[in-house]
Symmetry: C2
């Protein structure tokens, strides 16, 4: 799957991932209205609105991008109905040949991480039958519990040819509270990064590992250090756009081969029609606004990479 | 909710929580067979088996215990159908007046943690209507992202009178890999513990905070240190029984008032009928075996507390 991700990045010339993190407030009035007319102002109605919103954005952008990253929390907040929309979105994106990164940030003790790994990346046995419950291509994983919590994911990935991105240095303002604490003079995130590189050796693709890392665009200097520390690790970089990261901040996350990173934007793409820059599209054409935002983001990153 | 938890511990004289973490391999043949006859060897069939298994254990133990802790991963591994069984289990336990601790170990950047908090502990607005998606009483939270990731949970808890348990020192063998790293001569988990105590001041019950901590029974010496560091923090203690912890290891986690901790056992209770000690009950009477295991565990902890 890491090989497929890289091939798709090379084909689209766009190392970007669209974060499908729908909030009801992002969804244009006409989509909400139609969903509520059909299902009422219910969790089912909200899930239908989310699904129709996602579908339009995917339809308008899938040929430009290698991957999407649905954030499961945005679906889980609507309970079971929301999670059905999460699954529907995964299946639809895969039918469009997009790589799907499930932003689930799971992580637990061994047997429990194994259950998450099976549910999201693997197969579950029921009697004599076998099922694929959520079937993302990649999942994000929280490292706080150590190797015990991460290795069950890697084992399932080895069986299924799938991958993970382990949180190393997150994009949020307070990420330093624990992640930046100095251990023998070095920040904790560097130790986590070293572990990610070690874990990654257990499951290599052709040039990069199936075990990737999450490092926020909002911390470009730390990105440069981590890039060197984990040379064969693909870095998923959230925090571009709405969270404050810009193209020029991103070059540090890439290797000399122009690969090694994939940059996420969520709100900046999916709610583009709400920005002044794309307002002329109007809410009816929100998908076209998202397409324009994807093109601008890809070009911003390409220019930054060429200028270095 | 922390006040209710404490009142129920005092009433049952059992500071214990039953971990409803069903694996198909724990579920007696006759329950699986019946579920598969009705729904086939499907995810729905597996979910039905889990639900019937849980129901019997709850029916046979609810009068002895203050709380249950369903581990969502064990449901999530069966996809949407599994999560329906999770929700059904929560609702049933609440109808039996049990406090429900959702072991979800979520944690993300601010807006995303807010979505998890709403979905599990709060209410979600859909148009003019309001819904309670999962409705646990407490949830476990991963602190790796810092205050940003934890505070949205606390805000929802303040609105709803609910609580959280933040992972401080987990029970698994490799928990020390990052959690024990020394920062200015002190392990990281102590820093996390101090933060938990601080966060807890923002949402106090009568004697303890609504913001609790998770500290594994497998690390009793660290438990003693953390107990002093977080005097008003209720500690959820996993790792008793199957993971290796014993009654005598647990006294460190309690305050002088005999409160301040609640000890979880999962496999040791729900799969008790598989142990030699309870084998005479037979698989047909697995619920009675679980009841006996609860009584033995409560008495083990009471004796250890009296002996100190």
């Amino acid at each position: 799957m890491i090989n497929k991700l890289i091939a798709k990045i090379q084909k689209t010339k766009a190392p970007i991932v669209v974060g499908l993190d729908p909030m009801l407030s992002y969804i244009p009035e006409h989509i909400q209205k139609k969903a509520f007319e059909e299902y009422g102002e219910t969790l089912e109605g909200a899930a239908e609105a989310i699904w129709q919103f996602n579908k339009e954005i995917v339809d308008k952008t899938y040929d430009l991008i290698p991957a999407v990253k649905p954030q499961i929390a945005m679906y889980e907040q609507f309970g079971i109905e929301g999670l059905k929309a999460y699954k529907k979105t995964i299946d639809y994106c895969k039918s469009k040949d997009l790589v799907v990164i499930g932003d689930i940030k799971r992580g637990d003790i061994g047997s429990t991480s194994a259950a998450y790994a099976v549910g999201h990346l693997g197969k579950i046995q029921v009697g004599s039958k076998c099922y694929v419950p959520f079937d993302e291509d990649f999942a994000t994983v929280n490292p706080y519990l150590g190797s015990d919590g991460v290795k069950p994911f890697i084992e399932v990935c080895q069986e299924e040819g799938k991958g993970i991105f382990v949180l190393v240095k997150t994009s949020n303002p307070s990420s330093g509270e624990f992640q930046d604490q100095l251990v023998d003079g070095r920040p904790l995130y560097e130790l986590v990064g070293e572990k990610v590189a070690q874990w990654g050796e257990e499951h290599m693709g052709d040039t990069y590992s199936y075990v990737g890392a999450v490092v926020g665009a909002t911390y470009p200097e730390m990105g440069a250090v981590l890039r060197k520390l984990m040379p064969k690790t693909f870095i998923l970089v959230p925090g571009y756009g709405a969270q404050g990261g810009q193209g020029k901040d991103l070059v540090n996350f890439f290797n000399e081969d122009g690969l090694g990173a994939i940059v996420n934007s969520s709100r900046g793409i999916i709610a583009a029609y709400k920005q002044e820059k794309y307002a002329s599209f109007g809410p009816e054409n929100f998908g076209d606004a998202s397409r324009a935002a994807v093109e601008d983001m890809a070009s911003d990153i390409r220019q930054a990479l060429e200028a270095r």
